[in-house]
Point group: C2
Chain length 193, copies 2
């Protein structure tokens, strides 16, 4: 069962007791997402927390010139949600799309709030999860404001070594904030070292 992967995920924090696990069984539903299909499209309200069981998603924004900018890759055992739209219940500015065929578990907005209220362990576990995501995001910011494109690329390969070989260079370039052409130049330069 896919929900087992979610329960194991929480074992990394404060493991769930049987009542909490039972709540997950009731409140999460499974979904398969085909490659290139969307979990969320710009203009929709983000109504779910989405947990990726297998595969990989990306979250991205499209600028006024039509260019895509990857905010996040979400592989198995990670969460994909536009928190801003989720809580404000306003239309999202973002897309969430499958880069690989993916299996996900989703829980609706009202049921997330129910879990938070009824079982405070979810408040605890998600506090820790969001602290970690915040740290990760700050580290990325530091890279962005202090390092060259080449250094950011090297750092990305090291930090996400198990993920980077599943991603196309187009996707990596978009995440790093550079053009695919320039990433190609960087890679060529490194090949001769």
């Amino acid at each position: 069962m896919q929900i087992e992967k979610l329960k194991e995920h929480f074992d990394n924090y404060f493991p769930l007791d049987s009542a909490e696990q039972e709540a997950l069984n009731k409140l999460f539903s499974e979904k398969n997402i085909k490659r290139r299909h969307f979990v969320l499209e710009q203009g929709e309200v983000c109504k779910h927390f989405t947990f990726v069981v297998s595969g990989c998603l990306r979250m991205y924004a499209v600028d006024t010139h039509g260019k895509e900018h990857n905010l996040q890759f979400i592989p198995e055992n990670d969460w994909a949600t536009d928190l801003s739209s989720f809580y404000s219940e306003q239309p999202s500015q973002l897309f969430i799309q499958a880069l690989e065929p993916s299996r996900v578990l989703q829980i609706r907005h009202d049921n997330v709030l129910y879990l938070y209220t009824k079982y405070h362990k979810f408040d605890h576990n998600f506090r820790v999860i969001f602290e970690q995501k915040y740290i990760e995001s700050q580290n990325r910011t530091l890279q962005n404001i202090s390092s060259s494109a080449e250094d950011r690329y090297q750092h990305f390969l090291r930090q996400y070594s198990n993920l980077s070989n599943r991603l196309s260079n187009v996707q990596i370039a978009s995440y790093l904030g550079i053009t695919p052409e320039f990433l190609s130049v960087i890679r060529r330069a490194n090949a001769y070292k």
Copy 2:
């Protein structure tokens, strides 16, 4: 009393009951920080959560060339902590320094954990706080990977209009990831529009 500002801060989330307020009275201590003095220096373990009552701090990293890169400004009613060092209890890579004479409230590591365990409202409130900080950090990342220095500057002035007039351009340039010289060029170009 300075601690009142902290209690009011929590009113933005789930307001505290009297037992929780009493715990704050016991566990937080006041401190004055002079301009240019440090709340945290690289190499120290970050042992406190720091809440800014008045003034303004900055959190920054120093790269291998000795250049400073501002990760965050922390004005009144905000939290300054190197979460990574705080939880890992490893030496911090960061500095936290007062840009203005500042008053802060601090709580020690063990007492933070005590609050989380004893009163789960703190888990709840800090979950919400970190969710918001994560959203803010992702928005900054989007700016960094998708916008020119000029657009990032304009966006910064709009987003932090009440803070930006208290900051020197050197500090703003460091936050945006550009040189002060180039920020000066941007400002000159805008002056003639």
